[in-house]
Symmetry: C2
Subunit: 138 residues, 2 copies
Amino acid sequence: MPANDTIYSAVKNALVKDGWTITHDPYTVKFGGVRVHADLAAEKVLAAERGSDRIAVEIKSFVGPSPVHDFEEALGQFLLYIALMKRADPTRKLYLAIDSGTHETFFAREAIRVAVEDYAVSRVIVNIEQEEVASWIG
Amino acid sequence: MPANDTIYSAVKNALVKDGWTITHDPYTVKFGGVRVHADLAAEKVLAAERGSDRIAVEIKSFVGPSPVHDFEEALGQFLLYIALMKRADPTRKLYLAIDSGTHETFFAREAIRVAVEDYAVSRVIVNIEQEEVASWIG
């Protein structure tokens, strides 16, 4: 599991390689008296565009002592962003970026799989060493 | 905003005063390779029964430097618990316990209100000084 800064720059580079233009870093959502952005959170979120596609990407490294707690933090931030983006920036789609190792191990556990399905958490899986997008899911 | 331990014992005492019997402290959900319990999380969760009603209560103090980040943590843990309880303990209902001050200020913000509504976060509002349940919502 790579450190925070490593996955952050690897995801950015992977998105650019995949044809995306980074438009906001960090990406901030403002709605109804709350401004949600990277400074307040364990996770960084950026925004990108490719043609007419507009996305936001929450980058999560799962480097804490408890991956379950890391997941809870990531899920809470993801879903708060969804709730606010739905109202403030409704044409942008949110993805959770995770490294391919975490995807193949922690996210393969049934408990995490059902939560990801229940809450429709779209993911972009990134190969950190090669700085390449491995897959988009959901 | 009271400290973690203060709200924790105040919520427990308020539930007992309200006629509940604390049956698990902490309350652990096990499902599909993940055990979610208090040690892994910023928030404590307990279980209680009153007659045929069975509940779990996540206790959240909002004492961190960012209430938005505290909310993301609480929301993520709440929804992971919901996903696992739905499968492992489906007759128990989950509530988020918050103190009445936080309920009247932070939870009154439109951004928090819409997130709480979108994700159907049931809440038990506790008067910490009097150690009494003020209201059940949702």
